[in-house]
């Protein structure tokens, strides 16, 4: 039948669109190997592995990386606890103010990051809280909650209340039900949510610039290099690392949830 076949122009436009989304990222990989140090000349005059060893020996990069991992881990852990709690509450009951709460959860990600960042900064300023690793984590956890929430609440909805009642009828107490019934069922959704939250926190830059003070996370280090370039090829190598650090968690999150009705990631 005719309507089952896509018109050629549509096919070309769609595949062209996908290429448009992906080719720019591939270019970063090429530039990480270039021998040209001062400009972004294309094609690269030669290829070298030199910049990887230069990047490896730079203590400032390692410091930024360590801070990024620390922040992302802490923010993810906090967001997983808070996100699971709130999704459990939202899934199980209808109550007064439910709509308002769901708006409150998505607000940190619906409003532009500059507002979240500026708000946190003015609050820290009014209360004389000095900037530290803690203030970065505070900001990141706030917008990571919604990611975990989105993944967990979809799974909760699919989980029938019957299994929980059956568990209670068979004599399990609330904690046993949580440990043996709820957790195994939620497991992959939570893990996927955690992965995405980690990826989001790891490469967050807008809120971080407002809450970081003098410290730099890896994205902030990159931003400084972008504004005042020192060694461009080293930045290329770091860009590759940042890309990989977010790429694999996302891919993993997809494979963890792809058989469900709710594939992870559609709700950024």
């Amino acid at each position: 039948m005719r309507s089952d076949q896509a018109p050629l122009s549509l096919k070309i436009a769609a595949i062209g669109g996908l290429l448009f989304l992906h080719l720019p990222i591939l270019l970063i990989f090429l530039y990480a190997f270039t021998t040209e140090e001062r400009t972004y000349a294309f094609p690269p005059p030669g290829l070298t592995l030199h910049w990887f060893s230069v990047a490896w020996n730079r203590p400032d990069i390692w410091e930024a990386l360590a801070l990024s991992v620390k922040v992302a881990t802490a923010a993810t852990a906090l967001a997983m606890v808070l996100g699971t709690l709130i999704s459990a509450a939202m899934a199980q009951a209808r109550f007064f103010g439910r709509e308002q709460i769901s708006l409150l959860i998505i607000l940190p990600i619906a409003l532009p990051g500059v507002i979240t960042g500026m708000s946190l900064r003015s609050a820290f300023g009014l209360m004389d809280i000095p900037f530290s690793t803690l203030t970065i984590i505070l900001g990141h956890a706030t917008f990571c909650i919604v990611i975990v929430y989105n993944n967990a609440v979809a799974r909760f909805r699919r989980l029938s209340g019957g299994v929980l009642e059956a568990s209670a009828d068979l004599g399990a107490n609330a904690f046993q039900t949580f440990r043996y019934i709820l957790l195994p069922n939620l497991g992959t959704a939570l893990l996927a949510g955690g992965m995405l939250a980690f990826a989001l926190s790891f490469d967050e830059v807008i809120v971080t610039t407002f809450t970081a003070g003098q410290q730099s996370t890896l994205p902030i280090w990159m931003l400084e290099e972008l504004i005042r370039p020192r060694q461009r090829p080293v930045t290329n190598v770091v860009a590759m690392v940042v890309f990989a650090a977010t790429f694999f968690p996302i891919l993993l999150a997809y494979y963890l949830t792809r058989n469900g009705s709710e594939t992870a990631g559609s709700g950024k």
Partner: protein
């Protein structure tokens, strides 16, 4: 006969309590996250609002913590007003560009992609959506540079004149793509495109094939079907996507800093005013603009049924 029941543990007693008072369990579950979001997030938003009603002493440069509308009045100064207007025009153009680029991808993925191709499209949209924002912006800096791949490609294909003509356009052109509004528009559109594709695809997936067939049977041409059946049904998804592209462009301050001719945007103004200038009240007042615009936008979108497409 006396049944030997094990002594009730604390966990058992708590279970009974939760069973009798489900509201208690709910309160226990919801209090920590609500406290977090309520205190940290809403508290911060309130702090922002509060600061925007303060003003700065012109002589000492200190913030005067007294209620005044003076700071908001400053937004109407020509240079500040220009910033707001420029940001809104850029946001609208980027939204329009995203709609045009997103449509074929969303439509193909929703209607024609099957099996493995469906997965390819899904990952193909999801990966750029989630992958590092800064890396994507950086990649475009490489592409748009004067010595970069685009100039190279134009030279190879002898289409330099097109590039030069685009750069010679008054107002939006510039020295090179990376210092022009055209370049900035391209980067914004690239970075936010997946946010437009996803809701659009979701709404297109809900367009029943039978309606398209009916339209065809009734003698409509492809263009007519597109205009009178597909577009109206996909509109909620398009509006939902536009919420993201508009809001994200309006608040961004990294892209105008890295690409473009260093003209000021709302996000940049907020960042610079609170940082180097130390004028937190004016920065706060600037940050309130996107909030107000987004609230209006969201209420209009809600009326158009865009939230069902999310």
């Amino acid at each position: 006969m006396s049944a030997v029941l094990p002594a009730k543990s604390l966990a058992d007693r708590l279970t009974t309590l939760f069973w009798r008072k489900p509201k208690l369990l709910l309160a226990l579950l919801i209090t920590p996250p609500l406290l977090w979001l309520g205190v940290i997030y809403l508290g911060s938003l309130a702090a922002l609002l509060l600061q925007s009603f303060y003003s700065i002493d012109e002589f000492s440069g200190m913030v005067v913590p007294e209620f005044t509308l003076k700071t908001y009045a400053e937004l109407l100064r020509p240079q500040n007003y220009d910033i707001i207007l420029r940001t809104l025009i850029m946001s609208a153009t980027v939204t329009l560009g995203s709609v045009i680029l997103a449509f074929p991808i969303a439509y193909y993925a929703a209607r024609y992609a099957k099996g493995r191709w469906k997965a390819v499209f899904y990952l193909g949209i999801m990966l750029p959506l989630w992958s590092s924002y800064l890396v994507k912006v950086y990649a475009w800096k490489l592409i748009l540079a004067k010595e970069g791949i685009l100039t190279w490609a134009a030279t190879q294909t002898h289409t330099n004149f097109l590039l030069d003509a685009a750069l010679a356009l008054p107002g939006i052109g510039g020295n090179s793509l990376s210092t022009s509004y055209i370049g900035m528009f391209l980067v914004f559109t690239y970075v936010w495109l997946p946010f437009m594709i996803l809701p659009m695809q979701a709404s297109l997936e809900r367009v029943p094939t039978s309606m398209l067939e009916a339209s065809q049977d009734l003698g409509a041409t492809r263009a007519q079907t597109f205009r009178t059946v597909i577009i109206p049904l996909a509109l909620p998804g398009i509006i939902a996507g536009s919420i993201f592209t508009f809001s994200l462009t309006m608040g961004d301050y990294i892209i105008p800093q890295i690409v473009g001719n260093s003209a000021n945007f709302i996000g940049m103004a907020v960042y610079q005013l609170q940082g180097t200038a130390g004028n937190t009240p004016l920065a706060a007042a600037f940050a309130v603009i996107p909030i107000v615009i987004m609230l209006i936008y969201l209420s209009l979108a809600k009326r158009a049924g865009a939230f069902d497409a999310l």
